[in-house]
């Protein structure tokens, strides 16, 4: 609970700083805000660490079952922390360029992370629902944060409308689950389902509707359609945060849901997830092939990544779950890295949206070899090629599929790696073999960007070359 408290309090303070500071947008004030946000994260990290030590593999239930802190939750919380840290680090300069330096931005990031905390720890429908809304509402605002930009407006509105629609469905589904179990505690619901009729139509309906809402959050096909638009329209750091933090949190929730209360219904949802996973990989990969907008391309690719992660759940054995955890971890660093390179392309003076096109990175390798090389590392990792981190994630997924006899799925999943490399390497091709674009943007990096880049690159390479401690961590975290 402490991390959430830290996040919430720091978040609220930062959120309200805007009013306190008023119009005096001095550089000092901005630094204060930034510093405060980072302090918030530091405190959170400290509390997480403390909890980790205190927990020692046990599971703590608090607030009469509303949340439960365990290794699983903490694992995901570290991921959220990384996501917000990197986002904050790269946002500073980005917002400066966009002229939208508001304290709310940082506050919302912290509060969104607070929401994520409850998604990972929540064991009660109400907690989950409210936590989800906290995260979602923060994101709606963050996506639309560039109020002067129509793309940002539209992205926010689309995301909002669909998001609200899905949470309305989720509320409906939750109400049915409540009706079946007579309790909002996940544990009770699980017990009730196990004891009751597995073919109860109300239960099935609740399962279907809830599943849809969850799949919406992880942007799995066919509930993915908000993602490309929202990713493209959002400010790039928010895209990064959204694609990583929101997805990781939703996966934490998804795992909790499908393993605990809905575990008994495995026979019912497994085929659905198979279909959704295959569709996600297919649609994500295929649509990405012809994209020219980098953020949109990454959006589609992240849809396909959702498919891969779902495969781990389809397999459903320990390897699969560990695989999802590792995959999420790897994906976090990698996707953050890729998007932060895109964010670094943003420079003052150019019209918005023009730095995100494939044409704009043409010849980047000559102008900025380091960024280009790092981008290659991230793309390789996204594609899942050794010796980058991405491979380790894919490894577990493939292995879990083979262990559970899903050979056909494994073959499909592997073949899509080849498709993926095709579009990822369109970016590489442009960077290394394209003529330098005339109006191509120059990288204007800040300390924050460099630090963030350092974190993500180091993680991507280290996890690729020596994943042992990370695997150990994931394993311990999932051991329950």
């Amino acid at each position: 609970m402490l991390p959430a408290l830290a996040l919430a309090s720091f978040g609220c303070v930062v959120l309200l700083l805007e009013f306190l500071l008023g119009k005096a947008r001095a550089a000092a004030a901005r630094q204060w805000i930034l510093g405060l946000s980072l302090t918030g994260l530091a405190v959170t990290a400290w509390t997480l660490w403390a909890q980790q030590q205190a927990l020692d593999g046990r599971r703590l239930t608090a607030f009469s079952g509303a949340i439960s802190v365990d290794g699983f939750a903490l694992f995901f919380n570290w991921i959220f922390l990384v996501a917000s840290l990197v986002t904050i680090l790269i946002s500073y300069r980005y917002l400066e360029i966009e002229g939208e330096e508001h304290a709310e931005y940082y506050g919302l990031i912290l509060l969104a992370q607070c929401g994520m905390y409850f998604l990972a720890t929540g064991t009660d429908l109400v907690t989950i629902f409210v936590g989800l809304e906290l995260m979602a509402l923060s994101f709606y605002i963050l996506v639309g944060f560039l109020r002067g930009e129509r793309r940002s407006n539209e992205a926010a509105l689309k995301y909002f409308l669909l998001g609200v629609f899905s949470s309305a469905l989720m509320a409906y589904g939750f109400s049915l689950l409540f009706g079946v179990a007579g309790s909002t505690r996940l544990k009770d619901i699980g017990t009730a389902i196990q004891a009751g009729d597995l073919h109860d139509p109300i239960l099935l309906m609740g399962l279907a509707v809830t599943t849809v809402a969850l799949l919406f959050k992880i942007s799995a096909v066919p509930f993915h359609m908000w993602a490309p638009d929202a990713y493209e329209g959002a400010p790039t750091p928010v895209t990064a945060f959204l694609s990583v933090g929101s997805k990781a949190a939703s996966f934490a929730l998804l795992l909790r849901f499908f393993l605990e209360p809905l575990g008994a219904l495995r026979d019912a949802w497994q085929p659905l997830l198979v279909a959704v996973a295959v569709l996600s990989m297919t649609a994500g990969n295929l649509a990405a092939i012809t994209q020219t907008n980098l953020k949109r391309l990454i959006a589609y690719s992240s849809i396909s990544h959702a498919g891969y992660m779902l495969l781990g759940l389809v397999a459903g054995n320990e390897t699969g779950l560990q695989g999802i955890a590792v995959y999420v971890l790897v994906y976090t660093f990698t996707n953050l890295g890729a998007l932060l390179v895109v964010a670094a392309l943003r420079s003052k003076g150019a019209g918005r949206g023009t730095e995100e096109d494939l044409n704009d990175i043409s010849g980047l390798a000559q102008r900025n070899p380091a960024y280009a090389a790092l981008m290659v590392v991230f793309l390789l990792s996204l594609a899942g090629l050794p010796p980058t981190a991405g491979f380790i994630g894919k490894y577990y997924i493939f292995l879990s599929l083979i262990q559970t006899g899903h050979t056909v799925l494994a073959v499909i999943a592997t073949l899509y790696v080849a498709v993926a490399i095709f579009y990822y390497f369109r970016i590489v091709k442009r960077m290394y073999m394209g003529e330098a674009a005339e109006r191509a943007s120059l990288i204007s990096s800040s300390l924050g960007v460099r630090v963030a880049l350092g974190i993500t690159t180091a993680a991507t390479i280290v996890i690729g070359l020596y994943p042992e401690p990370f695997l150990r961590f994931a394993e311990i975290s999932l051991l329950r």
Partner: protein, 498 residues
């Protein structure tokens, strides 16, 4: 130092990356010197292996084993036997020569160029010395990336297409191969309750036929695309033709060997039952023979010098796979030796195209003619390469192909008959190429001014020629080192009992 000789050899190129990256990009000479020095050091170091290798000992030598990712059972497990020894030597030599051949051929983005070559070198060495399937797979994939860039950045006009085709094609094969590896890994774990990628332990796995077939065919796809076997060969002409000379040399000289090496090191021992089923053997032998004849026939129609050499690789590698799937001593030993031979002779042929291309910037056969008048030394070298490739006795190619044919003959006489037709065709297309480029009067005035081989270029060719003659005249040391591992494999595949 000797305890870690392989590791030093493996990571030397990577270590060389550090000084290389520190040299400013505009100091071209220093960059070249640095890269060449590292490669040379690697080659000299690898000579130590030769002197310390004990051909009489069974099993792997220079082994090193350290835990790497214990939670999945992957370890840093390297070592070499005779088969790997030859390939390691080929890699260090060809790598060095290819680097040296780029001295004046490549002038832009030098730093990236040499850096990629160094990474490539580590990757290739890693493939040949890994005794852990996970490690092997990592290196296997690592090799792809620098080659993609080498083709894509410094290649010919259609380099982008060729590079991505090469990449996606071979990647598709290798990810399927990963599935095979994982299946094996899982099967082993089911039997022994231990998750490990250690080759030696995986060899003890007993699989049901279905699983073994799956393992075999997924591995097969990965390797066959790399070799490349008909009908997976179409990435090869594009990649070879578009790659810069050094790229083609390494591609043909070393990278194609990874596929056949995979067959011998992994496919046969790990899935011996599946690999020795008659229909499997027949299918693969048929594909090999088709590749031999088909590659040669296609060669006859080529107008592009480099493309011709590229297709000849398809034909020659067909011999290698035919030998391997003859599943007897001669076939496999010959196949492994032929790998080296192909590396030498095709490497030389590509280097020759490179020498000419560097001076004249054309690969059209019709742009040449009568070069023997202006470049007599090149003509001599070309002739030796040609005869080596056309399997003239007392040169390396003969030893390899003859032994392979002996293996094929013992397995199925018809194979030998059909494959031997490839020998005729090889002579035909190579001699015709020679005639069109080297003989006759000088057909283009511009060619009269071409320089003959420089000292540096001689230095590149001489070691290859020497090796070619060595194998041709006295191949025994090579067969000696191959003897033990090949016998072990044959016994495993045909012995039945595991």
């Amino acid at each position: 130092m000797n305890g870690h000789l392989l590791s030093i050899l493996l990571f030397l190129p990577l270590a060389g990356l550090i000084p290389l990256l520190l040299i400013p990009s505009d100091q071209k000479r220093s960059l070249k010197l640095c890269a060449n020095a590292v490669m040379l050091a690697g080659f000299l170091l690898s000579l130590l292996l030769v002197f310390q290798f004990d051909a009489a000992a069974a099993g792997y030598q220079f082994t090193e084993n350290a835990p790497w990712i214990p939670s999945i059972g992957a370890s840093y497990n390297v070592g070499i036997d005779g088969i790997s020894l030859l390939l390691v030597m080929l890699t260090t030599l060809i790598g060095f020569l290819a680097t040296m051949s780029s001295w004046s051929a490549v002038e832009d983005r030098l730093k990236e160029y040499y850096a990629l070559f160094l990474i490539l070198q580590t990757g290739m060495l890693g493939v040949f010395i890994s005794l852990d399937l996970f490690l092997f797979y990592v290196f296997w994939e690592v090799v792809l990336i620098p080659m993609y860039f080498i083709i894509g950045i410094w290649g010919g006009p259609r380099r982008l297409y060729a590079a991505i085709k090469f990449f996606v094609y071979t990647l598709a094969g290798s990810v399927l191969m990963l599935l095979g590896i994982l299946t094996l890994y899982f099967q082993h774990a089911q039997e022994y309750n231990v998750y490990t990628f250690d080759l030696a332990r995986l060899l003890n796995t007993h699989m049901a036929m279905g699983a073994e077939q799956f393992v075999f065919w997924t591995l097969f796809l990965g390797f066959a695309i790399k070799v490349p076997m008909f009908p997976f060969h179409t990435w090869l002409p594009d990649a070879h033709v578009e790659a810069p000379t050094a790229g083609s040399v390494v591609l043909a000289g070393v990278m194609l060997k990874m596929g056949a090496y995979g067959f011998v090191r992994f496919s046969l021992p790990l899935a011996p039952h599946a690999a020795s089923e008659p229909w499997v053997v027949n299918t693969i032998a048929t594909l090999s023979i088709v590749a031999i004849l088909y590659g040669a026939l296609v060669c006859l129609m080529q107008k592009d010098w480099k493309r011709l050499v590229a297709y000849s690789s398809v034909s020659h590698m067909g011999f290698v796979t035919l030998g391997i799937f003859a599943l007897n001593y001669n076939g496999i030993a010959g196949g492994m030796l032929q790998q080296i031979n192909h590396g030498i002779s095709t490497g030389m042929l590509f280097l020759i195209v490179g020498v000419v291309y560097e001076r004249r910037h054309s690969r059209e056969i019709s742009a040449y003619g009568g070069l023997a008048h202006v470049m007599p030394n090149l003509a001599v070298v070309f002739a030796i390469a040609m005869w080596s490739s056309a399997a003239l006795p007392l040169l390396n190619g003969f030893i390899g192909e003859f032994t392979i044919l002996a293996g094929a003959f013992a397995a199925n006489k018809l194979w030998a008959v059909l494959a031997s037709l490839g020998v005729i065709l090889a002579a035909a297309y190579l001699l015709w190429l020679y005639q069109r480029t080297m003989l006759g009067e000088v057909t283009h005035e511009i060619n009269r001014k071409l320089r003959d081989l420089s000292l540096r270029e001689w230095a590149i060719f001489l070691p290859l020629i020497a090796w070619a003659v060595w194998i041709g005249v006295y191949p025994k040391p090579h067969f000696d080192v191959l003897d033990k591992p090949v016998r072990a494999i044959v016994e495993r595949v045909t012995g039945g009992a595991r």
